[in-house]
Amino acid sequence: MFSGFDFNVIERSWRYLFFDGMEFTLRLTLFAMAGGVVFGTLLAMMRLSSIKPLAWIAGTYVNVLRSVPLVLVIFWFYFLVPYMGAWVVRSDTPIHVGAFASCLLTFTMFEACYYCEIMRAGIQSISRGQVSAGYAIGLNYWQTMGQIVLPQAFRNMVPILLTQTIVLFQDVSLVYVLSITDFVGAASKVAQRDGRLVEMYTFVALIYFISCFALSLLVRKLQARIAVVR
Protein backbone atom coordinates (compact mmCIF):
# COMPACT_ATOMS: atom_id res chain seq x y z
CA MET A 1 0.00 0.00 0.00
CA PHE A 2 2.82 2.39 0.83
CA SER A 3 5.03 1.25 -2.07
CA GLY A 4 4.79 4.57 -3.85
CA PHE A 5 5.74 6.51 -0.73
CA ASP A 6 9.13 7.54 0.57
CA PHE A 7 9.20 7.71 4.35
CA ASN A 8 12.93 8.37 4.32
CA VAL A 9 12.01 12.02 4.05
CA ILE A 10 11.22 11.91 7.76
CA GLU A 11 14.61 10.48 8.60
CA ARG A 12 16.26 13.20 6.57
CA SER A 13 14.29 16.05 8.13
CA TRP A 14 13.34 15.08 11.69
CA ARG A 15 15.97 17.25 13.29
CA TYR A 16 14.59 20.29 11.54
CA LEU A 17 11.02 19.27 12.31
CA PHE A 18 11.59 18.84 16.02
CA PHE A 19 14.41 21.24 16.92
CA ASP A 20 13.10 24.10 14.81
CA GLY A 21 9.41 23.38 14.33
CA MET A 22 8.32 21.59 17.48
CA GLU A 23 10.55 23.79 19.61
CA PHE A 24 8.65 26.85 18.42
CA THR A 25 5.28 25.15 18.90
CA LEU A 26 6.06 24.05 22.46
CA ARG A 27 7.62 27.35 23.43
CA LEU A 28 4.63 29.28 22.14
CA THR A 29 2.18 26.85 23.77
CA LEU A 30 3.82 27.05 27.20
CA PHE A 31 4.29 30.82 27.24
CA ALA A 32 0.81 31.46 25.87
CA MET A 33 -0.64 29.09 28.46
CA ALA A 34 1.15 30.88 31.31
CA GLY A 35 0.15 34.29 30.00
CA GLY A 36 -3.36 33.15 29.14
CA VAL A 37 -4.03 31.65 32.56
CA VAL A 38 -2.78 34.76 34.38
CA PHE A 39 -4.66 37.19 32.14
CA GLY A 40 -7.68 34.89 32.02
CA THR A 41 -7.81 34.73 35.82
CA LEU A 42 -7.73 38.52 36.01
CA LEU A 43 -10.53 38.67 33.43
CA ALA A 44 -12.53 36.15 35.46
CA MET A 45 -12.10 38.24 38.61
CA MET A 46 -13.26 41.28 36.66
CA ARG A 47 -16.27 39.44 35.27
CA LEU A 48 -17.29 38.41 38.77
CA SER A 49 -16.56 41.83 40.23
CA SER A 50 -19.32 43.80 41.90
CA ILE A 51 -17.95 46.88 40.12
CA LYS A 52 -20.24 46.89 37.10
CA PRO A 53 -17.98 48.68 34.54
CA LEU A 54 -15.16 46.18 35.19
CA ALA A 55 -17.51 43.23 34.72
CA TRP A 56 -18.88 44.81 31.57
CA ILE A 57 -15.45 45.47 30.04
CA ALA A 58 -14.23 41.93 30.71
CA GLY A 59 -17.49 40.41 29.51
CA THR A 60 -17.41 42.37 26.25
CA TYR A 61 -13.76 41.52 25.68
CA VAL A 62 -14.37 37.81 26.17
CA ASN A 63 -17.50 37.69 24.06
CA VAL A 64 -16.01 39.70 21.19
CA LEU A 65 -12.81 37.67 20.96
CA ARG A 66 -14.63 34.37 21.28
CA SER A 67 -16.85 35.18 18.33
CA VAL A 68 -13.96 35.94 15.94
CA PRO A 69 -12.03 33.15 14.16
CA LEU A 70 -8.55 32.68 15.56
CA VAL A 71 -6.91 32.89 12.10
CA LEU A 72 -8.38 36.33 11.70
CA VAL A 73 -7.05 37.44 15.07
CA ILE A 74 -3.59 36.11 14.22
CA PHE A 75 -3.52 38.06 10.96
CA TRP A 76 -5.02 41.13 12.45
CA PHE A 77 -2.57 41.28 15.34
CA TYR A 78 0.43 40.53 13.18
CA PHE A 79 -0.27 43.50 10.95
CA LEU A 80 -1.68 45.79 13.60
CA VAL A 81 0.72 45.32 16.52
CA PRO A 82 3.60 47.26 14.84
CA TYR A 83 1.25 50.24 14.43
CA MET A 84 -0.15 49.97 17.94
CA GLY A 85 3.42 49.79 19.26
CA ALA A 86 4.30 52.89 17.28
CA TRP A 87 1.31 54.68 18.75
CA VAL A 88 2.24 53.63 22.29
CA VAL A 89 5.86 54.79 22.05
CA ARG A 90 4.88 57.78 19.87
CA SER A 91 7.07 56.76 16.96
CA ASP A 92 6.40 57.79 13.35
CA THR A 93 7.25 54.45 11.80
CA PRO A 94 5.75 51.07 12.73
CA ILE A 95 7.96 49.35 15.29
CA HIS A 96 9.46 45.98 14.55
CA VAL A 97 7.79 43.14 16.41
CA GLY A 98 9.16 39.65 15.94
CA ALA A 99 6.96 36.81 14.76
CA PHE A 100 7.23 35.03 18.10
CA ALA A 101 6.34 38.11 20.15
CA SER A 102 3.39 38.88 17.91
CA CYS A 103 2.11 35.30 18.08
CA LEU A 104 2.62 35.16 21.82
CA LEU A 105 0.59 38.33 22.32
CA THR A 106 -2.15 37.03 20.03
CA PHE A 107 -2.44 33.64 21.65
CA THR A 108 -2.22 35.02 25.17
CA MET A 109 -5.04 37.48 24.53
CA PHE A 110 -7.15 34.97 22.62
CA GLU A 111 -6.71 31.98 24.91
CA ALA A 112 -7.21 34.20 27.96
CA CYS A 113 -10.90 34.33 26.98
CA TYR A 114 -11.22 30.57 27.26
CA TYR A 115 -9.10 30.34 30.41
CA CYS A 116 -11.25 33.17 31.79
CA GLU A 117 -14.43 31.16 31.40
CA ILE A 118 -12.78 28.13 33.02
CA MET A 119 -11.48 30.17 35.94
CA ARG A 120 -14.84 31.89 36.32
CA ALA A 121 -16.44 28.49 36.78
CA GLY A 122 -13.60 27.57 39.15
CA ILE A 123 -14.04 30.66 41.29
CA GLN A 124 -17.80 30.16 41.38
CA SER A 125 -17.28 26.58 42.52
CA ILE A 126 -15.80 27.88 45.79
CA SER A 127 -18.54 28.36 48.35
CA ARG A 128 -19.57 31.79 49.52
CA GLY A 129 -18.75 30.65 53.05
CA GLN A 130 -15.06 30.27 52.21
CA VAL A 131 -14.98 33.87 51.03
CA SER A 132 -16.82 34.99 54.17
CA ALA A 133 -14.36 33.06 56.33
CA GLY A 134 -11.46 34.80 54.60
CA TYR A 135 -13.01 38.21 55.17
CA ALA A 136 -14.00 37.33 58.73
CA ILE A 137 -10.39 36.72 59.82
CA GLY A 138 -9.42 40.10 58.42
CA LEU A 139 -8.11 39.29 54.93
CA ASN A 140 -8.83 41.89 52.25
CA TYR A 141 -10.15 41.12 48.75
CA TRP A 142 -6.75 40.35 47.18
CA GLN A 143 -5.60 38.23 50.11
CA THR A 144 -8.87 36.29 50.15
CA MET A 145 -8.58 35.70 46.41
CA GLY A 146 -4.89 34.86 46.47
CA GLN A 147 -4.82 32.70 49.59
CA ILE A 148 -8.24 31.09 49.70
CA VAL A 149 -10.26 31.23 46.49
CA LEU A 150 -7.76 30.98 43.63
CA PRO A 151 -5.63 28.11 45.00
CA GLN A 152 -8.78 26.02 45.42
CA ALA A 153 -10.23 27.15 42.08
CA PHE A 154 -6.99 26.27 40.25
CA ARG A 155 -6.88 22.92 41.91
CA ASN A 156 -10.45 22.10 40.91
CA MET A 157 -9.88 23.33 37.38
CA VAL A 158 -6.46 21.84 36.60
CA PRO A 159 -7.88 19.07 34.39
CA ILE A 160 -9.99 21.49 32.36
CA LEU A 161 -7.16 24.03 32.14
CA LEU A 162 -4.92 21.30 30.74
CA THR A 163 -7.58 20.19 28.28
CA GLN A 164 -7.78 23.76 27.04
CA THR A 165 -3.98 23.75 26.74
CA ILE A 166 -4.20 20.71 24.45
CA VAL A 167 -6.53 22.75 22.26
CA LEU A 168 -4.04 25.62 22.39
CA PHE A 169 -1.22 23.26 21.38
CA GLN A 170 -3.22 22.34 18.28
CA ASP A 171 -4.29 25.91 17.59
CA VAL A 172 -0.65 27.04 17.47
CA SER A 173 -0.41 25.30 14.07
CA LEU A 174 -2.51 28.15 12.68
CA VAL A 175 0.56 30.40 12.71
CA TYR A 176 1.36 28.78 9.34
CA VAL A 177 -0.71 31.62 7.83
CA LEU A 178 2.20 33.91 8.77
CA SER A 179 4.71 31.50 7.17
CA ILE A 180 6.22 30.85 10.58
CA THR A 181 8.17 27.65 11.10
CA ASP A 182 6.19 25.87 13.77
CA PHE A 183 5.91 22.09 13.66
CA VAL A 184 3.32 22.09 10.88
CA GLY A 185 5.10 24.94 9.10
CA ALA A 186 8.40 23.07 9.12
CA ALA A 187 6.78 19.89 7.87
CA SER A 188 4.95 21.72 5.13
CA LYS A 189 8.18 23.38 3.95
CA VAL A 190 9.95 20.05 3.72
CA ALA A 191 6.91 18.46 2.11
CA GLN A 192 6.81 21.03 -0.63
CA ARG A 193 10.56 21.04 -1.16
CA ASP A 194 10.75 17.25 -1.55
CA GLY A 195 7.32 16.71 -3.02
CA ARG A 196 6.39 14.37 -0.17
CA LEU A 197 3.12 15.89 1.04
CA VAL A 198 1.30 12.73 2.05
CA GLU A 199 4.21 11.30 4.03
CA MET A 200 4.92 14.49 5.90
CA TYR A 201 1.35 15.37 6.77
CA THR A 202 0.67 11.80 7.87
CA PHE A 203 3.69 11.99 10.12
CA VAL A 204 2.60 15.34 11.53
CA ALA A 205 -0.88 14.00 12.22
CA LEU A 206 0.58 10.97 13.96
CA ILE A 207 2.81 13.10 16.21
CA TYR A 208 -0.10 15.38 17.11
CA PHE A 209 -2.25 12.38 17.89
CA ILE A 210 0.37 10.73 20.08
CA SER A 211 1.20 13.87 22.08
CA CYS A 212 -2.41 14.96 22.55
CA PHE A 213 -3.56 11.49 23.45
CA ALA A 214 -0.77 11.13 26.00
CA LEU A 215 -1.68 14.50 27.48
CA SER A 216 -5.35 13.64 27.74
CA LEU A 217 -4.46 10.40 29.52
CA LEU A 218 -2.45 12.48 31.97
CA VAL A 219 -5.44 14.77 32.46
CA ARG A 220 -7.67 11.80 33.18
CA LYS A 221 -5.22 10.51 35.77
CA LEU A 222 -5.02 13.92 37.42
CA GLN A 223 -8.78 14.15 37.48
CA ALA A 224 -9.03 10.83 39.30
CA ARG A 225 -6.40 11.89 41.82
CA ILE A 226 -8.03 15.21 42.59
CA ALA A 227 -11.41 13.53 42.92
CA VAL A 228 -10.00 11.21 45.59
CA VAL A 229 -8.22 13.87 47.60
CA ARG A 230 -11.19 16.19 47.75
Binding site: Q130, S132, A133, Y135, A136, I137, G138, L139, P151
Partner: protein
Protein backbone atom coordinates in the same frame (compact mmCIF):
# COMPACT_ATOMS: atom_id res chain seq x y z
CA UNK B 1 -18.89 46.69 72.90
CA UNK B 2 -21.42 45.91 70.18
CA UNK B 3 -24.20 48.45 69.64
CA UNK B 4 -26.90 47.72 67.09
CA UNK B 5 -29.24 50.63 66.39
CA UNK B 6 -32.38 50.40 64.23
CA UNK B 7 -30.91 48.05 61.63
CA UNK B 8 -33.06 47.40 58.58
CA UNK B 9 -32.03 45.30 55.63
CA UNK B 10 -33.69 44.36 52.35
CA UNK B 11 -32.91 41.78 49.70
CA UNK B 12 -34.43 43.63 46.77
CA UNK B 13 -37.89 44.46 48.00
CA UNK B 14 -37.97 41.69 50.60
CA UNK B 15 -37.26 43.01 54.08
CA UNK B 16 -35.12 40.59 56.11
CA UNK B 17 -34.41 42.81 59.11
CA UNK B 18 -36.78 45.38 60.55
CA UNK B 19 -35.42 48.01 62.93
CA UNK B 20 -33.39 45.69 65.12
CA UNK B 21 -31.72 47.28 68.12
CA UNK B 22 -29.72 45.69 70.88
CA UNK B 23 -26.34 45.83 72.53
CA UNK B 24 -23.74 43.48 73.87
CA UNK B 25 -21.58 44.85 76.66
CA UNK B 26 -18.03 43.85 77.35
CA UNK B 27 -17.87 40.37 78.85
CA UNK B 28 -21.51 39.70 78.16
CA UNK B 29 -22.81 36.51 76.53
CA UNK B 30 -25.91 37.03 74.41
CA UNK B 31 -27.74 34.18 72.76
CA UNK B 32 -29.86 34.92 69.68
CA UNK B 33 -32.55 32.37 68.91
CA UNK B 34 -35.64 32.09 66.80
CA UNK B 35 -37.18 30.00 64.03
CA UNK B 36 -35.28 29.55 60.79
CA UNK B 37 -35.66 32.43 58.39
CA UNK B 38 -36.13 34.87 61.23
CA UNK B 39 -32.99 36.83 60.30
CA UNK B 40 -30.72 35.86 63.19
CA UNK B 41 -27.81 34.76 60.98
CA UNK B 42 -28.23 37.83 58.83
CA UNK B 43 -28.15 40.05 61.90
CA UNK B 44 -24.96 38.52 63.26
CA UNK B 45 -23.30 38.78 59.83
CA UNK B 46 -24.12 42.48 59.78
CA UNK B 47 -22.09 42.94 62.97
CA UNK B 48 -18.77 42.34 61.20
CA UNK B 49 -19.94 43.70 57.87
CA UNK B 50 -20.17 40.40 56.00
CA UNK B 51 -23.70 41.43 55.09
CA UNK B 52 -24.39 45.04 54.17
CA UNK B 53 -27.43 46.77 55.66
CA UNK B 54 -29.38 49.71 54.29
CA UNK B 55 -30.56 51.51 57.41
CA UNK B 56 -29.37 51.98 60.95
CA UNK B 57 -25.98 51.84 62.57
CA UNK B 58 -23.77 49.18 64.13
CA UNK B 59 -20.81 50.16 66.28
CA UNK B 60 -18.20 47.71 67.45
CA UNK B 61 -15.84 49.12 70.05
CA UNK B 62 -17.00 52.57 68.94
CA UNK B 63 -16.23 51.97 65.25
CA UNK B 64 -19.12 52.23 62.80
CA UNK B 65 -19.39 49.09 60.64
CA UNK B 66 -21.54 50.60 57.89
CA UNK B 67 -19.35 53.67 57.41
CA UNK B 68 -17.64 53.40 53.98
CA UNK B 69 -14.55 55.03 55.51
CA UNK B 70 -14.13 52.24 58.05
CA UNK B 71 -11.27 49.86 57.38
CA UNK B 72 -13.42 46.72 57.44
CA UNK B 73 -10.62 44.10 57.19
CA UNK B 74 -8.92 45.75 60.18
CA UNK B 75 -12.13 45.75 62.20
CA UNK B 76 -13.00 42.17 61.25
CA UNK B 77 -9.55 41.01 62.35
CA UNK B 78 -10.55 42.05 65.88
CA UNK B 79 -13.88 40.20 65.83
CA UNK B 80 -13.77 36.43 65.79
CA UNK B 81 -16.41 34.58 63.83
CA UNK B 82 -17.38 30.92 63.81
CA UNK B 83 -19.58 29.59 61.00
CA UNK B 84 -22.21 26.89 60.82
CA UNK B 85 -20.20 24.95 58.23
CA UNK B 86 -16.80 25.52 59.92
CA UNK B 87 -15.30 27.03 56.75
CA UNK B 88 -11.78 25.91 57.47
CA UNK B 89 -9.58 26.26 54.39
CA UNK B 90 -9.46 22.72 52.96
CA UNK B 91 -6.27 23.24 50.95
CA UNK B 92 -4.26 24.12 54.06
CA UNK B 93 -3.23 22.09 57.08
CA UNK B 94 -4.73 22.86 60.46
CA UNK B 95 -1.64 24.82 61.53
CA UNK B 96 -1.65 26.81 58.28
CA UNK B 97 -5.31 27.62 58.89
CA UNK B 98 -4.34 28.99 62.30
CA UNK B 99 -1.32 31.04 61.20
CA UNK B 100 -2.52 32.52 57.89
CA UNK B 101 -4.29 35.63 59.16
CA UNK B 102 -1.86 36.14 62.06
CA UNK B 103 0.97 36.49 59.55
CA UNK B 104 -0.89 38.22 56.70
CA UNK B 105 -3.08 40.57 58.73
CA UNK B 106 -1.37 41.10 62.09
CA UNK B 107 2.15 40.87 60.69
CA UNK B 108 3.32 38.35 63.27
CA UNK B 109 6.35 36.24 62.49
CA UNK B 110 5.75 32.68 61.33
CA UNK B 111 7.25 31.32 64.57
CA UNK B 112 5.18 33.55 66.84
CA UNK B 113 2.04 32.74 64.86
CA UNK B 114 2.71 29.02 65.05
CA UNK B 115 3.40 29.17 68.79
CA UNK B 116 0.13 31.03 69.35
CA UNK B 117 -1.72 28.64 67.07
CA UNK B 118 -0.37 25.57 68.83
CA UNK B 119 -1.21 26.97 72.26
CA UNK B 120 -4.83 27.52 71.21
CA UNK B 121 -4.98 24.17 69.46
CA UNK B 122 -3.85 22.59 72.70
CA UNK B 123 -6.57 24.46 74.52
CA UNK B 124 -9.27 22.96 72.28
CA UNK B 125 -7.60 19.58 72.72
CA UNK B 126 -6.38 19.06 69.17
CA UNK B 127 -2.64 19.59 69.33
CA UNK B 128 -2.04 16.18 67.73
CA UNK B 129 -3.99 17.17 64.62
CA UNK B 130 -1.86 20.20 63.67
CA UNK B 131 -0.45 18.73 60.47
CA UNK B 132 -3.65 17.20 59.17
CA UNK B 133 -5.93 18.71 56.59
CA UNK B 134 -9.42 19.73 57.74
CA UNK B 135 -10.99 17.05 55.55
CA UNK B 136 -9.42 14.39 57.77
CA UNK B 137 -11.05 15.72 60.95
CA UNK B 138 -14.52 15.07 62.29
CA UNK B 139 -17.07 17.87 62.26
CA UNK B 140 -16.63 18.57 65.95
CA UNK B 141 -12.87 18.71 65.59
CA UNK B 142 -13.17 21.04 62.61
CA UNK B 143 -15.40 23.39 64.54
CA UNK B 144 -12.97 23.44 67.48
CA UNK B 145 -10.15 24.29 65.05
CA UNK B 146 -12.35 27.05 63.65
CA UNK B 147 -12.81 28.48 67.14
CA UNK B 148 -9.05 28.28 67.72
CA UNK B 149 -8.48 30.04 64.38
CA UNK B 150 -10.72 32.91 65.46
CA UNK B 151 -9.06 33.12 68.90
CA UNK B 152 -5.61 33.33 67.29
CA UNK B 153 -6.41 36.92 66.35
CA UNK B 154 -6.93 37.93 70.02
CA UNK B 155 -10.49 39.05 69.29
CA UNK B 156 -12.32 41.59 71.44
CA UNK B 157 -15.59 39.73 70.78
CA UNK B 158 -16.69 36.46 69.24
CA UNK B 159 -19.63 35.87 66.92
CA UNK B 160 -21.06 32.37 66.60
CA UNK B 161 -23.40 31.61 63.72
CA UNK B 162 -25.18 28.35 64.57
CA UNK B 163 -21.90 26.65 65.49
CA UNK B 164 -23.45 23.28 66.30
CA UNK B 165 -26.23 23.04 63.71
CA UNK B 166 -24.17 21.07 61.20
CA UNK B 167 -22.82 18.63 63.78
CA UNK B 168 -23.80 15.08 64.64
CA UNK B 169 -25.45 15.01 68.07
CA UNK B 170 -22.53 13.27 69.79
CA UNK B 171 -20.14 16.02 68.67
CA UNK B 172 -22.20 18.97 69.84
CA UNK B 173 -20.97 18.83 73.42
CA UNK B 174 -17.26 18.97 72.60
CA UNK B 175 -17.89 22.26 70.79
CA UNK B 176 -20.25 23.61 73.46
CA UNK B 177 -17.69 22.82 76.16
CA UNK B 178 -15.15 25.04 74.44
CA UNK B 179 -17.75 27.79 74.12
CA UNK B 180 -18.77 27.50 77.76
CA UNK B 181 -15.16 27.75 78.83
CA UNK B 182 -14.73 30.86 76.68
CA UNK B 183 -17.83 32.42 78.19
CA UNK B 184 -16.66 31.70 81.71
CA UNK B 185 -13.36 33.39 80.98
CA UNK B 186 -15.24 36.59 80.23
CA UNK B 187 -15.21 36.66 76.43
CA UNK B 188 -17.80 38.95 74.86
CA UNK B 189 -19.98 36.62 72.82
CA UNK B 190 -22.94 36.87 70.51
CA UNK B 191 -24.22 33.39 69.65
CA UNK B 192 -26.92 32.40 67.22
CA UNK B 193 -27.86 28.95 68.46
CA UNK B 194 -30.73 26.65 69.28
CA UNK B 195 -28.82 25.10 72.18
CA UNK B 196 -31.02 26.25 75.03
CA UNK B 197 -28.91 24.24 77.48
CA UNK B 198 -25.97 26.40 76.55
CA UNK B 199 -28.09 29.53 76.92
CA UNK B 200 -29.21 28.46 80.40
CA UNK B 201 -25.68 27.73 81.50
CA UNK B 202 -23.77 30.80 80.37
CA UNK B 203 -25.96 33.39 78.67
CA UNK B 204 -26.61 36.70 80.35
CA UNK B 205 -29.30 37.70 77.91
CA UNK B 206 -31.43 35.96 75.31
CA UNK B 207 -32.74 37.64 72.18
CA UNK B 208 -35.68 36.08 70.37
CA UNK B 209 -36.19 36.97 66.72
CA UNK B 210 -39.08 36.33 64.37
CA UNK B 211 -39.73 37.60 60.83
CA UNK B 212 -36.70 39.88 60.92
CA UNK B 213 -37.60 41.66 64.14
CA UNK B 214 -36.33 41.35 67.67
CA UNK B 215 -39.44 40.19 69.52
CA UNK B 216 -37.90 39.62 72.90
CA UNK B 217 -34.71 40.91 74.46
CA UNK B 218 -34.57 39.75 78.06
CA UNK B 219 -32.24 38.51 80.75
CA UNK B 220 -31.83 34.77 80.79
CA UNK B 221 -34.03 34.23 83.85
CA UNK B 222 -36.80 36.40 82.48
CA UNK B 223 -36.66 34.69 79.11
CA UNK B 224 -36.85 31.16 80.42
CA UNK B 225 -39.09 32.10 83.33
CA UNK B 226 -41.79 34.16 81.70
CA UNK B 227 -41.37 35.08 78.05
CA UNK B 228 -43.70 37.94 77.38
CA UNK B 229 -44.50 37.31 73.74
CA UNK B 230 -46.73 34.47 72.67
CA UNK B 231 -44.44 33.70 69.72
CA UNK B 232 -41.46 33.14 72.02
CA UNK B 233 -43.54 30.93 74.30
CA UNK B 234 -44.58 28.77 71.35
CA UNK B 235 -41.00 28.54 70.14
CA UNK B 236 -39.69 27.60 73.56
CA UNK B 237 -42.32 24.94 74.14
CA UNK B 238 -41.43 23.40 70.79
CA UNK B 239 -37.69 23.19 71.21
CA UNK B 240 -37.62 22.40 74.92
CA UNK B 241 -39.93 19.40 74.71
CA UNK B 242 -38.24 16.98 72.41
Amino acid sequence: MIEIKDISKWYGTFQVLTQCSTRVSKGEVVVVCGPSGSGKSTLIKCVNGLEPFQKGEIRVDGISVGDPKTNLPKLRARIGMVFQNFELFPHMTVSQNLTLAQVKVLGRSQEAALAKGMALLDRVGLKAQADKHPGNLSGGQQQRVAIARALCMDPIAMLFDEPTSALDPEMINEVLDVMVQLAQEGMTMMCVTHEMGFARRVAHRVIFMDHGSIVEDATKDDFFGKPRSERAQQFLSKILHH
